[in-house]
């Protein structure tokens, strides 16, 4: 991180492209802007092609002899299987409406980070290999043959796209560069060209059920540990169950929440919520160590890998005999659940249409997939006044909300989290309207780019988001950035540290956990982070 540029340097980057055309500008793979190559052991573990040692900085990527043929066949196959890919290859008019919508272009100024050019990197090869016009007119028609440099360019820039879909909102034809990136990465994976921050979580998830490779006993230990913390803070010891057959609901959340701060506080929030609902209304819910990952880094590898990792959600629900699944706070997990899961691994006939056992609300919008988002579930509970909330324990927070890209643009989960936040905290401020909801800016580290070695990329890509946070921080004194995504909870703290150090990061269920009164609790003098609650600490002193 020592070479990370200063904030002023990132801010003063020019958005005017260079003189030389993009096809004539050679690729320059720069440390800080890329993630390390995949570990062959991980690639091999899940049986993906060409596991080997390779290094992006070296000239020779140890490609298979016939790599061009593999890419060509791979493209042909995908053009035949995905109308999205085929149509998006053909109809872009290069109007440029998407150009400055990408946080990576705004943050890096690199023209190849304009969504349209990112797509043109692939489109140029498509024109050359699959269209008559490209074959005849060549470079004049924007066509170029596949070469090693072109392949490297693909790799470099497809792993500088967080598949956030912001560009797609503005495109007059809905061209989704994320979709092109998804398929482009799939092509790269045919040659074993993944990044390790994706490949190793995929292998871990396949084996242990979660990205972090947490084994079942360790998973249980961590949950127990949270429960002990909760007892210390509230005086009540939750007794969650794991892998319990016959429960009514299966709960699945990203493993990041049981592993690293501040996600862990969100996990504690879930535990408090479930404990409350169990004691008060007899909620019958279980966690699983086998399906201990909501996220899906397979999504960043290939459609097939996504399906392979996602399969365990329904499989576990079936094995445990639950009626429906409740999903925790995660971004891309919800894109997968909302737009892919049922198609890939359904139909989920072994489940039932989700009905809240507490309010009786039928979640018609999840009638087929049979999985409900925790903020949908919570909104319903709060609306029916089923929670005993004391928002004053969040009075010291001035909160703004970061819409994660995937729930925003791949689902439309926008009002639910806001409703929950505003029910548990009275100080809520929106960021400017062009930076939230469907126009939200990415954290800059999604789609598997949340490694350590690409910090410059992440801090650059996170600029628009951080800038909007800084705006509400300066205007309203916002000191807490709420989000509904485990990757956000992992990556926004360093982003804030860099751009707006006065602002901290929280999950929504952490705030719920703070506000929720547990039956039989002791006087709550600290929040879930064991930090003193302002206004409560003197009494604590008095007690002693």
């Amino acid at each position: 991180m020592s070479d990370t540029p200063k904030p002023e340097e990132i801010l003063s980057r020019s958005h005017t492209p260079p003189k030389t055309g993009w096809m004539d500008t050679p690729i320059n793979i720069r440390p800080g802007m890329y993630c390390y190559a995949s570990n062959p052991k991980s690639v091999d573990y899940v049986g993906l092609p060409y596991p080997r040692q390779w290094n992006p900085m070296e000239d020779d990527w140890n490609l298979p002899e016939n790599w061009k043929e593999i890419i060509f066949e791979g493209m042909r196959d995908r053009l035949d299987r995905f109308r999205s890919f085929k149509v998006f290859m053909d109809i872009c008019v290069r109007c440029g409406a998407c150009a400055d919508k990408c946080h990576f272009f705004i943050g890096t100024g690199d023209p190849k980070n304009m969504p349209v050019l990112r797509a043109e990197l692939i489109r140029s090869v498509y024109r050359n290999d699959f269209t008559r016009f490209g074959k005849i007119f060549g470079k004049m028609a924007g066509a170029r043959p596949m070469t090693l440099d072109v392949l490297k360019e693909w790799w470099y820039y497809l792993f500088q796209c967080t598949e956030c879909r912001r560009c797609s909102v503005f495109c007059p034809y809905g061209i989704d560069t994320a979709e092109i990136t998804i398929i482009g990465r799939e092509l790269l994976n045919l040659l074993g060209l993944n990044i390790d921050w994706i490949a190793t979580p995929v292998a871990n998830c396949y084996r242990t059920g979660n990205h972090l490779g947490i084994q079942p006993h360790a998973y249980k230990d961590m949950i127990d540990f949270f429960c002990e913390d909760i007892e210390e803070i509230t005086g009540v010891l939750p007794k969650p169950s794991l892998n319990r057959k016959g429960a009514e609901i299966l709960f699945i959340t990203p493993s990041g929440d049981v592993f690293a701060d501040p996600g862990t506080y969100t996990a504690m929030g879930y535990l408090i919520l479930f404990d409350f609902l169990e004691k008060k209304y007899g909620l019958d819910i279980t966690w699983s160590t086998y399906a201990s990952e909501g996220g899906n880094f397979g999504f960043f590898t290939s459609h097939e890998t996504m399906k392979r990792l996602n399969a365990k959600m329904y499989a576990e629900a079936k094995r445990l005999g639950v009626k429906w699944i409740l999903g925790g706070e995660c971004g891309h997990m919800w894109r997968v659940i909302n737009q892919y899961m049922d198609t890939m691994n359904g139909p989920a006939d072994h489940l039932e249409v989700p009905v809240s056992p507490i309010t009786g609300t039928r979640f018609e919008n999840a009638a087929s997939t049979r999985m409900v988002h925790i903020t949908e579930f919570l909104s319903d509970l709060i609306y029916h006044d089923k929670l005993d909330l004391d928002p004053s324990r969040n009075d010291h927070l001035k909160v703004t909300f970061h819409d994660s890209c995937n729930p925003a643009r791949g689902m439309g989960l926008l009002d639910e989290p806001r409703y929950v936040i505003q029910s548990v905290c009275k100080n809520f401020y929106e960021m400017p309207s062009n930076t939230i909801r469907e126009q939200t800016f990415c954290c800059g580290s999604g789609a598997g780019l949340n490694a350590g070695e690409d910090m410059e990329l992440r801090l650059s890509g996170g600029l628009p988001r951080a800038n909007a946070v800084r705006h509400v921080h300066e205007k309203h004194g916002v000191n807490m950035l709420a989000c509904i995504c485990a990757i956000d909870r992992a990556v926004l703290p360093p982003l804030m540290e860099y751009w707006v150090p006065e602002v901290d990061v929280t999950g929504i269920c952490e705030m719920v956990g703070n506000a929720l009164n547990l039956p039989g609790q002791k006087k709550r003098t600290t929040d879930l982070r064991s930090e003193d609650l302002p206004g409560m600490e003197e009494e604590e002193d008095a007690d002693e």
Partner: protein, 350 residues
Amino acid sequence: MNRHYMFSLIAVLLLFLIAYVGVAAVGLEVLFGIIIPYAAIVVFTVGFIYRIVGWARSPVPFRIPTTCGQQKSLPIFKQAKIDNPSTKGNVVIRMILEIVLFRSLFRNTKVKVKEGGKLFYGYELWLWLFALAFHYAFATVLVRHLRFFTEPVPQWLQLLENVDSFMQIGLPGVFLSGVVLLAAVTLLFLRRVLLPQIRYISLANDYFPLVLIFGIAFTGILMRYFIKVDVVGAKELAYGLVSFHPTIPEGIGAVFYVHVFFVSVLLAYFPFSKLMHLGGIFMSPTRNLPTNTREVRHVNPWSYPVKVHTYEEYEDEFREKMVEAELPVDKELPPEPEEPEADETSEEKE
């Protein structure tokens, strides 16, 4: 200088010369007035259908609409029915608004870095405005041309012409659509040439249609207001084409053949180019599908079984640790006395 737009300018100039010289000097009226137009229409029709069928043959394996507003969930949240349409009817409305009003383009913003390092996203509606003006003018001009292909000219067409030329400046009445088309195409071209980012992404195939359409509008306006061509003869030729009795009336003027040649080139070029966005927008899976993916299952026609790591395999690997941690297991441990376990290699990273 940029060879991409120079190429397009030169190409259109060459096309002009070919047609002009071909008719005025060589006398190839039949080629430029009958053969090429017919050929162009065939290429356009066959090519267009070929492309649409080509797209349609690739299935839509997943339902991936871009959601641009609140989803349908609980009754307490107001769904954005157009931007996040969960029914087919609302998808149709979304598509109509895209096609008629360029709704997505209307969202366009432009990023600016203000002093103090503040990013600002201002609305940027020029592209939307130019594009809308261009398309509507183009459509109007196209429809107006039906008068050359119909006999008698229908009433409604007459009406359209009256509306289009309501700003009467002497005789003949000036058609607004032609002027707007010429202006919009010029502005779109200048936008490409002058804005560095747009120039950077533009290819010859982005300039070429603009220059060509400029050429079409320019020759059209030239004929109407300046070098009067024989309109009766023009109609005779056009009507001859559609009634399959092609004729070449005497003395229409070479510019007319240039105009027809430009149009023929545009038609023939159309199916091979980005102009196919006309058909493509209707087939864009991020816009033309309902967002009810969790409510109604979408079927992937090429779905195939994949290798998964089953719970049994998982439990087999971790059974002992699970039992020790008092996690429920499906198969109990074999009742043998405990052996020292060798598999300590795979601890989770912490």
